[in-house]
């Protein structure tokens, strides 16, 4: 595959500054609403603030890759003397849980850095400077980024198999034409 120059965006998270407001979740869900800016539903946000108030944990976590199967090994964190649930801080949209899945369709959600926007929405609307974007250029192998629909379809094919998905799509389009 060809090498191309690509801008890599990193969002740095200064969790110590986070006040736990969850404004970032609102911003993300508003930006990704359809139509854009029409509704707010934090459960659809691609950033989730994992909070355990009395344990002093307010941790914004970005939705990472979709994974078709659960990990074989699990992680359990102890922070500041307090132990957390298995997978408590994992970024994956994983069959073992509801996090980072669209509550209506069950399809996985992934942070897309707010493609096309000057500044990611969660970054823009966090007034506490917890989230800061850094950009750098890197040579990377060209690969096609999957868009939302592809990620969703991939998840469906993993779950039901390609032929079942194709069949269903064909049936639905017939029904629509009806």
């Amino acid at each position: 595959m060809a090498k191309v120059k690509k801008k890599i965006k990193t969002i740095k998270i200064d969790a110590d500054r986070c006040n736990g407001c969850r404004g970032c979740e609102i911003a993300c869900s508003l930006f990704h609403a359809e139509p854009k800016y029409s509704s707010i539903n934090p459960a659809k946000s691609r950033i989730q603030v994992v909070s355990h108030r009395l344990k002093d944990i307010w941790l914004p976590v970005f939705a990472g890759e979709y994974t078709p199967a659960e990990c074989m090994g699990r992680d359990v964190y102890t922070i500041d003397g307090k132990e957390y649930d298995e997978c408590g801080f994992c970024r994956a949209a994983c069959p073992s849980r509801d996090l980072f899945k669209d509550p209506d369709t069950g399809l996985p959600l992934k942070c897309d850095m707010c493609e096309g926007e000057e500044e990611p929405w969660c970054v823009k609307w966090c007034l506490n400077d917890v989230l800061v974007v850094e950009e750098r250029e890197e040579e990377v192998e060209e690969e096609e980024a999957l868009d939302d629909m592809e990620i969703g379809l991939e998840a469906l094919t993993n779950k039901f198999g390609m032929s079942k998905v194709m069949e269903t799509l064909a049936r639905m389009s017939m029904a629509k034409k009806g």
């Binding site: 006040n19 736990g20 407001c21 969850r22 800016y37 108030r53 002093d56 509550p103 007034l127």
Partner: protein
């Protein structure tokens, strides 16, 4: 499609266990917006004035406001309404935190509880699935503790839980409802919840809230954001630090408590300690505070951080906000702040009002010191100030011995104790304990706010107008220079003229006419916030706030699709305000009840006070007794209210300004 509001209420009959999801009339938003406005309407329609606070028919409504769940910063209040066991009037304490937005994401604007459950239960709302669950295993558990226990039991780490502690279960009249870092404290919502046998309401929602014009809404929010950033970096000069910023008073951030400790009264709202704030105290208090605070935290979708996670020595962790760090220490005459942090933890788990409770305890101590309560009442009580307060607090929330009497608050306790105890219940308005402030000179603005507002709690009435005149002309000019929140440029003159001493000072200035306008304006701002459920700290309660009468109509229009201008918005909140007043009139409130504590000011001026009240009533369109006139009610489309008041003989025909 419904915008901003979700359009459904949850109606729960606790006696039968019947649960209904009821679609609301869109017209109600046009008439009353939401939050407090639409809740008052429900009480008016459904709870007749014969209802007593602990009757099954007394509704307990948990309401979100029009802006909860939207991107509007600081829209996170939950307003809880009920007839108060303490005042006997329609109370509406509010809490910040995270609960009401979650309720909207679950698909409801309000939860309306009626009747009583036969056993202790909690309510679990998960989108369309709503259950009444057994809570007998939670009996006696702390209000904070309960929140985590329920989250664990349901395996729902993101559920938001509002709960009562022991005080609520035992119907202490000042029992609060606690949630996350916030609480709805005033006037005994926790007692009504406990009376209904509801330990908690847990909610988790994964649905959406819609905006009519999201693009426009976010454009307006960009302006609001800019101003928030500006105000956070440019504190107002010439006022006390605590008043210079936005948000709730930054009691967790600031350690300089000279002003509070020397100007507020200690004990049972008795004595000021003029030279309390020594270097030594300053050092030890600052140290205690800095060490106790683990992190500054906010409510839902708010950039400020008025609360804190407290990790004090030998105290389980809890969250604190605002002024409760001082109220117990000062009421108990304890000169170390560690005590404040320690007892506030206990008080939060018990779930009690952090303003009223310390005064009730101090009142008990005073009665004992004055021989009205006896050794028998205090049998087993430690002798030191700290120990005594812990002991009394425990008695009160458990309603044991003398605690059972004190648990009804100072007004009712004094009545029961008799023997001169009434003299000691000296800091009440409408039977409700007030901030422990005792001042010198009658203040016209504060006189009106204290006397007439249905909130009966000054911190949630005052706000946009400075608390006192500025000493110099330069300071006044500096203050008015940039003051876009004012309803009218000409008002700046009033501030410029307002002096510290002489004819243009309190008690003569602001004159009754001017005072009426200023107080009405401040009250209106609170009523807007309370309908939207925006934190008063970002609107009505602070100087030069980000939200005000000029941007609210635009924000509301963009969110809801209504076409509102300033006059339209004012009319809506005025309608709800008058409905609330009429409701309380129906419950027996009138002019005779509208007065600050006798000793609030040393220098009182009965004639000025009389004129202030009469002028203000006239301005509001209320008759001499403080009852809305038919004319005013008609203007506000409330003819049905006038009919009702007339039928009950509360409003007499003719009904004008008659002095009797």
């Amino acid at each position: 499609m419904r915008y901003a509001e979700v359009g459904y209420n949850l109606e729960i009959d606790l006696a039968t266990g019947n649960i209904e999801r009821v679609e609301t009339d869109p017209k109600m938003m046009e008439l009353h917006l939401g939050g407090l406005g639409t809740s008052v309407k429900i009480h008016w329609d459904r709870v007749p004035p014969e209802t007593k606070p602990f009757d099954p028919e007394n509704l307990l409504i948990f309401s979100s406001g029009l802006f909860n769940g939207t991107p509007a910063f600081s829209a996170n209040r939950t307003v809880i309404t009920f007839i108060s066991p303490q005042s006997g009037l329609l109370a509406y304490p509010m809490m910040g935190g995270f609960w009401s937005s979650e309720l909207k994401y679950a698909g409801y604007d309000k939860v309306i509880l009626r009747n009583k459950s036969p056993k202790l239960v909690y309510i679990w709302i998960h989108n369309d699935k709503v259950e009444i669950r057994d809570a007998t295993h939670l009996k006696g558990k702390g209000a904070l503790e309960t929140q985590d226990l329920i989250r664990e039991e349901l395996k729902q780490p993101n559920a938001q839980v509002a709960a009562i502690g022991l005080a609520g279960e035992n119907r202490m009249f000042c029992a609060s409802i606690e949630q996350s870092r916030s609480s709805a404290s005033r006037l005994g919502g926790g007692a009504v919840m406990g009376d209904k046998n509801v330990k908690a309401i847990a909610v988790r929602g994964t649905k959406g809230v819609n905006l009519a014009d999201g693009v426009e809404f976010m454009k307006l929010m960009e302006e609001v954001t800019e101003y928030i950033n500006y105000r956070n970096t440019n504190p107002i000069p010439d006022v006390m630090t605590i008043l210079s910023g936005i948000g709730s008073p930054q009691e967790m951030v600031h350690t300089d408590e000279k002003w509070h400790t020397e100007n507020f009264a200690w004990g049972n709202a008795r004595n000021r300690r003029k030279n309390f704030w020594t270097d030594e105290i300053e050092e030890s208090w600052a140290k205690a505070q800095v060490e106790a605070i683990k992190r500054f935290i906010s409510c839902y979708n708010c950039p400020q951080h008025c609360g804190a996670l407290i990790d004090a020595p030998n105290v389980p962790r809890y969250m604190m906000k605002c002024f409760s760090k001082l109220t117990y220490s000062m009421a108990a005459y304890v000169d170390n702040l560690d005590f404040g942090f320690k007892i506030a933890q206990q008080a939060s788990e018990y779930g009690v009002d952090g303003f009223s409770t310390p005064q009730i305890l101090a009142f008990g101590v005073e009665l004992y010191e004055n021989g009205i309560l006896t050794d028998k009442d205090f049998e087993g009580c430690p002798k030191d100030n700290e120990g005594r307060f812990f002991w009394l607090l425990d008695r009160v929330v458990r309603r044991e011995g003398i605690g059972d009497v004190l648990a009804d608050g100072t007004y009712w306790a004094a009545k029961r104790i008799g023997n001169g105890a009434e003299e000691f219940a000296h800091n009440n308005i409408k039977k409700h304990e007030q901030l422990p402030i005792k001042l010198g000179m009658l203040d016209p603005l504060y006189f009106l706010m204290y006397s007439t507002n249905e909130k009966i709690s000054i911190t949630q009435i005052e706000g946009n107008w400075p608390q006192a005149a500025f000493p110099t002309k330069e300071q006044r000019e500096r203050f008015v220079e940039d003051w876009p929140q004012l309803p009218d440029e000409t008002w700046k003159e009033w501030l410029l003229e307002w002096e510290l001493r002489g004819e243009k000072a309190i008690p003569y200035f602001p004159t009754p006419d001017i005072a009426a306008q200023i107080v009405d304006w401040m009250e209106m701002l609170h009523n807007i916030d309370d309908a939207l459920c925006i934190c008063a700290g970002m609107g009505s309660f602070c100087l030069k706030p980000p939200y005000h009468i000029h941007n609210y109509p635009k924000l509301i229009s963009a969110a809801t699709g209504l076409d509102l201008d300033e006059e339209g918005l004012k009319k809506i909140v005025n309608r709800s305000r008058n409905l609330h007043r009429a409701y309380n009139n129906r419950l027996g409130m009138s002019r005779a009840d509208e007065k600050p504590p006798e000793d609030h000011w040393k220098k009182r001026f009965p004639e000025i006070e009389e004129e202030l009240l009469t002028t203000y009533y006239e301005f509001k369109g209320w008759n001499y007794d403080g009852i809305p006139t038919r004319e005013r009610l008609h203007e506000l489309d409330l003819d049905y209210v006038a009919d009702d008041l007339e039928k009950r003989g509360i409003l007499k025909d003719g009904q004008g300004q008659e002095e009797n």
